[in-house]
């Protein structure tokens, strides 16, 4: 297996490491860059636990090889807090409604919802369910997650 140097910008910081061509982006983030906030549920693109934002779009990092992400800009759950450590409105709303239990799907859910609110500041319930529809949560039944996204959207609109 050939090794490759991979350089990408993760959560605003430039990072480099060497990995085999077959290394997935999620393994690269977790094992090479030690960013273990992004989780692995299925490794075949269904559960969404591995979601990250790559060049502005939510993607499943288990379906992308790290070499394909060379040069990309990535946001993971570790990058959602403000530079001052303040929670993002979505993080805060997830906490407010208790939009999780075991927390395992939560990073992926936050990523999916962050991407949604970036492109649609005033989503309907249907649009929210659509945006998180590719992320499985076995704990919550989604009700409090939908509530959280609604609360965050309102807070963000009010804050302008």
């Amino acid at each position: 297996m050939s090794d490759h140097d991979i350089a990408l910008t993760v959560n605003g910081r430039r990072m480099t490491s060497r990995a085999e061509a077959r290394t997935t982006l999620v393994d690269f983030l977790r094992d090479n860059l030690n960013l273990t906030g992004t989780h692995v549920g299925c490794e075949h693109g269904v559960c969404g636990a591995c979601s990250v934002i790559m060049d502005g779009r939510p993607v499943r990092s288990c379906l992308i090889y790290a070499v394909m992400a060379d040069g990309a800009e990535i946001t993971t759950v570790e990058g959602l807090e403000g530079s001052d450590g303040a929670l993002s409105p979505l993080q805060d709303a997830f906490w407010e409604t208790h939009a999780m239990q075991c927390g395992y799907c939560t990073p992926g859910m936050l990523i999916a919802a962050t991407a949604l609110l970036a492109r649609n500041p005033d989503p309907t319930e249907h649009e929210i369910r659509d945006a998180i529809g590719g992320n499985l949560c076995r704990c919550t039944g989604y009700v409090q997650i939908v509530e959280a996204v609604q609360i965050a959207a309102r807070a963000m609109r009010e804050a302008g």
């Binding site: 085999e20 077959r22 290394t23 977790r30 094992d31 030690n34 960013l35 273990t36 906030g37 992004t38 989780h39 692995v40 549920g41 299925c42 490794e43 075949h44 269904v46 559960c47 636990a49 993971t76 759950v77 570790e78 959602l80 807090e81 929670l87 993080q91 997830f94 906490w95 407010e96 409604t97 208790h98 999780m100 239990q101 075991c102 927390g103 395992y104 799907c105 939560t106 990073p107 936050l110 319930e125 929210i128 369910r129 659509d130 998180i132 529809g133 590719g134 992320n135 499985l136 949560c137 076995r138 704990c139 919550t140 039944g141 989604y142 009700v143 409090q144 997650i145 939908v146």
Partner: protein
């Protein structure tokens, strides 16, 4: 004196109030720490070699090609592991049946782990696993549970005299007489198919044998009682040479994370190779070879009733396909004994429980431990009685539900229900659903030519976990102790730290204990730290099984906090030179009753306890700490010879009302509205109870409409090893749910709490089946098999048009 027992009504300052959940902060910032996040220097990785045959002798394993790959360190066979470890504990002892982490001499299901490869990386271990050559001699196999019961069926375990792991029939009350006296009876078959909890995190175990300390360090995504002891027993080391780190966050379990086999493989390899070893199941390993499967049941039901709708008696025969090893599966037939007549005033019952093995993946514990399938069967029976009498489904329930003034109520199988107000919950959920409008909406849909139906289920959630099914099903096991412990330490600054003794898989135990301790001590829960112990420092616990932690961990927290309070009062009394009865405790401070100017503050008393022995009562223990271990209320008794026993202490109740439509062409079911009325006594954290209930409903939607582990009867192959074949509900399939609460305190717990960890799941599938049957009624069709997948519904509808 038992400090934790007995409910006294009171106003709560923190408990029952909306407050943020402590655990959530680390999860929303990506700072949870799961077993897969544990990385140790020099750590090696495991991948499994799985059997391609549902049944085969293992004639030999050739690992040479695998070991020739650079970076591959070891190939562990079932033969070697068997020689150096003890077989695993079984739920019931079955002669001639041994359960081992890797198949020993014979593979008994397709996907069973036959060998484990250990390498520098997981990818390398997977490459090498493909190079391991196993020589098999395929054997006849059996997939269908009823086929498996036949005398000439292929034997799953050749040293056992049949494929039956457990078979017993109990008769409680005058069943025969009640059937004879009843005006009518009906019988039917209901089918609950093999599905499970399927957490998004697979099972992960990290083992590190510390040869210096001679301790096996374990980090694992575990939810299981007596895990360290089971590891020690299997690895043949003392239990105090096993240290399980309970501070690992577990990515969901709902009963299922019982990875003892995975742990033994990792632990053995770590000791053998002298390095840390991590095994992360991939999804296929989890779904086919792991502990992924759940109850798989055929119910043969008979019900005796009168023309006025009174249900007199029930006969239930449950044939459960437990797969190939007796893990927790036979016992999952046992818990329903504690609620065998549901929430109804049914005077007698017969229960025949059959646990049969097949060449399938073993069954492990699933949320509700067999109660949800049983509730589905009972509720189907009640609906059928209503239909037979032309009576409304609600009316029949009203006539049979136990009344609020009838508690404690003893059911024929011996368990006493603690409290409840079932009719009030039913009224509330009906009101919330705006029932008349709901009916009008259903009828409007029908008028448009659609199939639409309203469902109703009224179900119990036995909670608290006496686990009397253990001695009931396995008389050799005379366990009646099901305790939980909490330790509290007040340090010299006055800060409070509580310690719990199990891992958490999303139940919010830190929040639970901080609220209860905060309430009892009058200290702000946000200021209370709750830590998970490691097993070498742990007090007795039985882990969060059986919907027991609000009751048991909550009760232990009350007990430990009251001990602290008593010590504080004694120290204050000594310093005031007054009897304790003359003092009042408020928020940690102690004042003389009627004279607030004479107050000792929390800080002063804590300081005295830690530093001023000269101000302490004579002979007092220095410092301020307590331990409380609580036995489950109503526990401590072995079952009687006739099988009657107290199964669980507390009974939560739920009533579900969904509205569904069924596409007459494709059979697709859509849930249009969903209401639940729920009563789990005093709610400690409202957000947590809401979440558990919504999550349980979603899980129930999966069991009712989507999820099934399928095996090909011809080849014996497991067909649903990925999320592409085993479908779980997403936010598209799970509707918004309206929940209404009712609070009937349990008289058995300090705050009146009952369990809620299984809520939603225990009545959801029954309610959805009820709704679909209501939708199908105009066509004269009925479905009593779950799941009601599109293809199942399509087949049902197509059969009619033929």
């Amino acid at each position: 004196m038992d400090d934790a027992t007995g409910y006294v009504p009171r106003e709560f300052k923190y408990v029952s109030h909306k407050r943020r959940v402590k655990e959530d902060r680390r999860f929303i910032t990506g700072r949870g720490r799961y077993a897969a996040d544990v990385r140790l220097p020099g750590m090696k990785h495991v991948a499994m070699v799985s059997s391609p045959y549902p049944c085969a002798w293992i004639k030999g394993v050739d690992a040479s090609a695998a070991l020739a790959l650079p970076g591959v360190h070891y190939v562990l066979t079932g033969e070697e592991l068997f020689a150096h470890t003890n077989p695993l504990l079984a739920g019931v002892d079955v002669p001639g049946v041994k359960r081992t982490p890797l198949a020993y001499r014979k593979a008994r299901y397709a996907g069973e782990w036959v060998a484990a490869v250990c390498a520098d990386s997981r990818a390398l271990a997977e490459d090498a696993a493909e190079l391991v050559e196993v020589e098999y001699e395929p054997l006849p196999f059996v997939i269908d549970p009823e086929e498996s019961l036949k005398p000439d069926a292929p034997r799953v375990h050749e040293d056992h005299d049949s494929n039956v792991f457990f078979h017993r029939k109990w008769v409680w009350g005058d069943v025969e007489g009640d059937f004879a006296r009843a005006a009518r009876e009906l019988s039917f078959r209901a089918r609950w198919s093999r599905c499970s909890t399927v957490p998004i995190e697979t099972f992960v175990a990290v083992a590190d044998w510390d040869a210096g300390q001679e301790v096996m360090q374990i980090w694992a995504s575990i939810q299981m009682p007596k895990y360290p002891e089971q590891i020690a027993r299997a690895l043949r080391i003392p239990a105090n040479a096993v240290n399980v780190h309970y501070d690992i966050d577990v990515g969901g379990s709902y009963g299922q994370k019982r990875g003892i086999r995975q742990t033994i493989v990792a632990g053995y390899l770590s000791r053998r190779l002298g390095c840390p070893v991590r095994f992360i199941e991939d999804r296929l390993e989890n779904m086919s070879g792991g502990d992924a499967h759940g109850p798989d049941r055929i119910f043969d039901m008979q019900v005796a009733f009168d023309d006025d709708g009174t249900i007199r008696s029930l006969r239930i025969r449950a044939t459960d396909d437990c797969g190939c090893y007796p893990g927790r599966a036979p016992l999952q037939l046992g818990k329903p004994v504690g609620a065998i007549v549901g929430p109804y005033r049914i005077g007698s019952a017969e229960y025949e429980a059959i646990s049969v093995s097949t060449n399938k993946t073993s069954q492990e514990a699933v949320r509700g431990f067999g109660q949800s399938p049983t509730n589905f069967a009972i509720e189907t029976a009640v609906d059928k009685v209503a239909r037979a009498l032309g009576m409304d489904r609600e009316e029949i329930r009203r006539r049979n539900l136990i009344g609020a003034d009838e508690f404690p109520w003893k059911i024929p199988s011996g368990s006493e229900y603690d409290s409840g107000d079932y009719l009030a919950v039913l009224d509330k959920v009906k009101a919330a659903s705006n029932y008349k409008v709901l009916v009008a909406r259903r009828d409007a849909l029908r008028a448009e030519g659609k199939l639409a139906g309203i469902g109703l289920s009224t179900c119990l959630e036995p909670s608290g976990g006496n686990s009397s099914f253990e001695p009931l099903f396995n008389p050799k096991n005379d366990t009646t102790t099901w305790m939980e412990s909490v330790q509290i330490r007040v340090d010299m600054t006055g800060a409070v730290t509580a310690m719990i003794n199990t891992s958490s898989s999303g139940q919010g135990h830190q929040t639970l204990v901080s609220l209860v301790v905060g309430e009892e001590l009058g200290r702000d829960p946000d200021s209370i730290r709750v830590i998970h112990s490691e097993s070498l420092a742990a007090l007795p616990s039985n882990s969060p099984v059986g919907s027991r932690m609000a009751i048991m961990m909550g009760g232990a927290a009350t007990g430990a906090a009251k001990k602290i309070r008593d010590r504080v009062m004694e120290i204050a009394a000594h310093n005031f030179q007054l009897p304790v009865e003359r003092l009042v405790y408020a928020g940690g401070n102690v004042s003389v009753d009627g004279d607030p100017s004479r107050t000792l503050t929390w800080e002063q008393i804590v300081d005295t306890a830690h530093r001023k022995y000269h101000d302490m009562p004579l002979g007092a223990e220095p410092g301020l700490q307590s331990i409380y271990t609580w036995e489950v209320p109503t526990g401590g008794a072995l079952p009687n010879a006739d099988g009657t026993c107290q199964m669980y202490p507390c009974y939560s109740f739920e009533a579900h009302i969904p509205l569904v439509s069924v596409d007459p062409e494709t059979g697709r079911i859509e849930i249009l509205e969903y209401y639940i009325g729920h009563d789990c006594g005093t709610v400690i954290s409202p957000d947590i109870v809401r979440g558990m209930t919504f999550g349980g409903i979603a899980h129930g939607i999966g069991a009712a409409m989507y999820e099934k582990f399928e095996f090909d009867p011809e080849s014996g192959q497991h067909l649903t090893g990925s999320f592409m074949d085993y479908l779980m509900p997403s936010a598209h399939e799970v509707p918004d749910v309206t929940m209404v609460k009712h609070f009937t305190p349990s008289p058995l717990t300090p705050m009146g709490q009952k369990g809620s960890g299984e809520s939603g799941y225990l009545g959801g599938p029954a309610a959805l089946a009820s709704a679909v049957n209501d939708a199908l009624e105009p066509l004269g069709l009925e479905i009593t098999t779950l799941p009601m997948r599109v293809r199942d519904m399509e087949a049902l509808l197509a059969a009619r048009t033929k």
